[in-house]
Amino acid sequence: MATAAPLPTLTTKELTTDQEVRWCPGCGDYSILAQMKKALTTVGVPREKMVFVSGIGCSSRFPYYMNTYGFHTIHGRAPTFATGLRLANPDLQVWVVTGDGDGLSIGGNHLIHALRRNIDIKVLLFNNEIYGLTKGQYSPASRIGTPTKTSPGGSFETPVRPLSLALAAEATFVARTIDVDVQHLVAILQKAAAHKGSAFVEIYQNCKIFNDEVFKYATDKAVKSSNVLYLEHGKPMVFGKDRTKGIRLNGLKPEVVEIGKDCQLDDILTHDEFAEDPTPAYLLSRFVHSEDPSAVNPFPEPVGVFRNVTRPTYEELLADRIKVATEKKGAGKIEDLFKAEDVWTVS
């Protein structure tokens, strides 16, 4: 029996540069960097074909620490550089590392359009709901009430919901994971790597210095099972300490129900990450943790793959157009360029 050529494997050491890592002690970025290396050891892509492109901010120092090709660009614009790179060379696996300020504020426009076009790039949005590198101002993802030096008395702006935005932008792969949930993080990164087209992954990332414990409800072992819903394709959406809670659809309204009390397991919504219709994924993207202890049946925050569908990439569609144009008139040669309909000769 013929065997396929073995896929290249890498070690995390091979993926490590000689540069000193300069994030604050305890930063969630350390875990993401470690899991990223672990994830890439088995994706089957050689090191020289991986490129990390970033903008500006704490997360954007990421490329310096990956022993691949790397481009640390300008604030918010990483998706544009990544797009150009994919146009020039569609063989590369291109990762964009961004944060909630870089990707959702100054670079919001580029994020929307890269996802809409389905450029084959993997966008990792490290969301710490704060501006770290500029020392602690509120971000467009900060929760209402977040007190910072630029929001005395607490932020009163409605925050962006990154996954709702990605879904509205027609993203073909949308997922969420958490910096310290290491196995989940590795699995999601590998799924993103395998996706053809734009992948958008929101990673909850703790900023030890300016927004510590903002995701404690989702990471603290004592409470996280009640606050986090792990999405698995084909499985019912159940959560809670004893997995007795579930999500049921009441008309167009999702609700949290007690299995065995309010309903049976069969009544619980089953997750379908491959659904063409983005509406169920959008409903899930609206679940927000409530800090109000008196809240009745509060929603858990889902993590996992919300949406995973296939659509031709921008690069493929452009290559098709080039192929058609070439078939119609033949490959262009420099001599052909100058021929216009109306030429005249002077002798």
Partner: protein
């Protein structure tokens, strides 16, 4: 008729009696007087919905194919359709055609065609005394006059008596000619530009064949547009025959073929030439071309033109904004393609940060800036040269870039190739400063043979380049041998271009200051000084590969006229006329603005007086005075229009005579 010799030619030129039939079949067989003239400048002017750009373009194509030298100047409003009949909605197309070598679309008009009172009001001042004024009398009703702010009809108040006014009921005659074609009344009226064009073809004894073929190709392919083909054909012929039948003027004018160098020619605008130049450059360099742009006047035709070049492997990308366009172009050049971003001045403002990243990461990037009137939105469809200092200095930090400026529509081709050569050889951003005047203007282009084109050799790093050398301070060591050093430079200080995908050369680049040689992040004081100096020196080194300035004019000239970019044709004509008048004046023109050619200082210091005509407030003049401490004087104009030859000629006279 105008003559580039500058001698006071009579408006009708030199008569040369001749008589023969019409080239298109004379309907009445009358004989008439023919006058031969050297060159003619005509302008078609009407409402922006009247099809004046089309009429002008057709007249130009015909003249070019007949062997005249040509130069054109389209002038149109920013509004696609301003309220019909208003002064704001007037669109004009000027064509200068000649039996000798010309460099400009002409100053004063020999003939002006106006389709309504608004066109008359805005264009009459450019018609020379005694010039021919063809007026569509059908659009001089009370409301038409009111829209153009006339209280009394200029056709009746004697204000046109210095011109040879030809009154033609263009609208009525057109409708009469096309009424059986099955068009709506509105569609019938829209054929009137072809009637007017036919009339002008008769005046200058030009064949209708070129335009008839164009109409057939454009409207003859689909059954539903055949009535339009028929109607436009009839309108064109009717206009011609009307001139013939009523003997509109006692004479017809002939402009003989120009004596131009042998070769195959086509008509080309600056933007068209840029498209061909960039595609040619990518073929010469054997590199993929990625052009990323956000639509903006007057640069959009380059994006549209390149989008049609897919069979050359060209990839165009219509970005979500100007910044994205710059990022995509740079991402492509990081990936080993030729990355170009195209825009006009307001877009350059937005791209500044990305351009600076190209300065810092030392990647090739070409920024096409087709300049228009500014600041801010300014005059979108009008020309200006006021982005020179923006290109030179408009970024944070010490940020040197290369700047080149094409000097004519045809030169847009050669300058495009030169921009690609510099960007890829020196690993740096290159500004390509075109302007609305040469971008939209056209002239005949002698089609080059491929062997005449310059070579562009692009090298990519393929192997580690460290020798293991160790050195002091900012002359840092290379570390262990066998590593790849992304900032190890060649003899011109250019760094290697290593393309992602190349095994063994994995490296990181970015906008933070870096150590020379290794490219590692570095904030040391001496290193920043060294890197800043090195980036400046690298751009200065480009001067080693560009031609010296060439001075034209007498050896004993006292005055040097210095220009740059799109004013070349007008300055050249003005200098030549002044020289013929016996004035001791010389000319030099910059295509490379940064760095300037190596002999710049020596050239400037040879002259007692220097005049710098520019369509801005004096930007090159400012640079020359600052860099070379020379007594340069500016002739500056910012009216959204190119210089007239006479304006520069006047300034030359004043400077020479000491009346300045």
């Amino acid at each position: 008729m105008s003559s580039e010799s500058g001698s006071a030619t009579a408006p009708l030129g030199t008569p040369a009696s001749a008589s023969h039939g019409s080239p298109n079949g004379s309907p009445n067989g009358h004989h008439r007087k023919i006058e031969r003239v050297e060159s003619v400048t005509i302008r078609f002017a009407g409402d922006s919905g009247d099809g004046m750009q089309l009429a002008g373009t057709q007249f130009t194509n015909t003249s070019a194919l007949l062997g005249n030298d040509i130069a054109t100047f389209p002038d149109f409003p920013a509004e696609i359709r301003a309220p019909a009949g208003t002064l704001a909605g007037v669109s004009g197309f000027q064509v200068h055609f000649s039996s000798h070598d010309i460099h400009t679309p002409g100053d004063a008009l020999d003939a002006l065609v106006v389709m309504n009172p608004a066109a008359l009001k805005t264009n009459l001042k450019d018609l020379q005394p005694g010039g021919i004024l063809i007026v569509n009398t059908d659009s001089f009703g009370v409301s038409d006059l009111k829209k153009a702010n006339y209280t009394i009809s200029p056709l009746e108040d004697g204000s046109l008596k210095g011109y040879r006014v030809v009154r033609v009921a263009v609208s009525k005659l057109t409708v009469e000619a096309v009424k059986d074609c099955g068009l709506t009344p509105r569609e019938q009226d829209r054929c009137k530009n072809f009637f007017a064009l036919g009339l002008v073809y008769w005046m200058y004894e030009r064949t209708l064949d070129v335009t008839l073929k164009w109409i057939k190709d454009k409207f003859g392919k689909k059954p539903e547009t055949r009535p339009v083909m028929e109607a436009n054909t009839r309108a064109l012929k009717a206009g011609y025959n009307y001139g013939e039948t009523v003997e509109l003027l006692p004479v017809q004018y002939q402009v003989a073929k120009a004596q131009i160098a042998p070769g195959t020619y086509r008509k080309i605008t600056g933007n068209e030439a840029a498209v061909l130049g960039f595609v040619a450059a990518s073929q010469l360099a054997k590199k993929q071309l990625v052009y990323a742009s956000y639509p903006i006047t007057p640069a959009s035709p380059i994006l549209e033109g390149l989008a049609d070049m897919r069979r050359f492997g060209v990839k165009t990308f219509q970005a979500e904004d100007e910044i994205a366009a710059a990022g995509v172009a740079m991402g492509a050049s990081y990936g080993g393609a030729i990355g170009i971003t195209g825009t006009s001045g307001p877009g350059v403002c937005l791209k500044s940060e990305a351009i600076n990243l190209a300065v810092m990461t030392e990647l090739p990037l070409i920024i096409v800036d087709v300049q228009r009137g500014g600041p801010s939105t300014g005059l979108p469809t009008k020309t200006e040269q006021a982005d020179l200092l923006q290109a030179m200095f408009g970024r944070n930090g010490e940020s040197p870039v290369a700047i080149i400026a094409p000097q004519s529509p045809v030169d847009c081709f050669d300058a495009a190739i030169e921009a690609v050569r510099i960007a890829t050889r020196f690993m740096c951003p290159v500004f390509y400063l075109s302007d609305g005047y040469i971008a939209n203007g056209s002239e005949p282009w002698k089609i080059p043979s491929v062997s005449e084109l310059p070579k562009i050799e692009v090298k990519h790093a393929t192997e580690p380049n460290s020798n293991g050398w160790t050195g002091p301070a900012h002359e840092v060591g290379e570390g262990e041998a066998g590593k790849f050093l992304p900032y190890k430079r060649d003899e011109f200080l250019a760094r290697p271009w290593a393309v992602p995908g190349t095994p063994g050369l994995e490296h990181r680049i970015g906008g933070i200051e870096k150590q020379d040689v290794t490219g590692n992040i570095n904030y040391e004081p001496a290193n920043h000084q060294h890197m800043t100096d090195t980036r400046a020196k690298k751009i200065a080194n480009i001067a080693e590969t560009i031609p010296d300035l060439v001075v034209t004019g007498p050896a004993d000239a006292e005055l040097l006229v210095v220009g740059w970019g799109g004013t070349f044709g007008t300055i050249t004509t003005a200098v030549q006329r002044s020289q013929r008048k016996g004035l001791k004046v010389a000319q030099v023109h910059f295509r490379h603005l940064n760095p300037m050619p190596k002999n710049t200082e020596a050239v400037l210091k040879r002259f007692k007086k220097i005049l710098v005509p520019e369509l801005n407030g004096g930007q090159l003049c400012w640079l020359l005075r600052a860099k070379y401490l020379v007594p340069a004087e500016g002739l500056n104009k910012v009216q959204g229009k190119p210089f007239l030859v006479s304006e520069i000629e006047g300034a030359i006279s004043k400077l020479v005579s000491g009346e300045w």
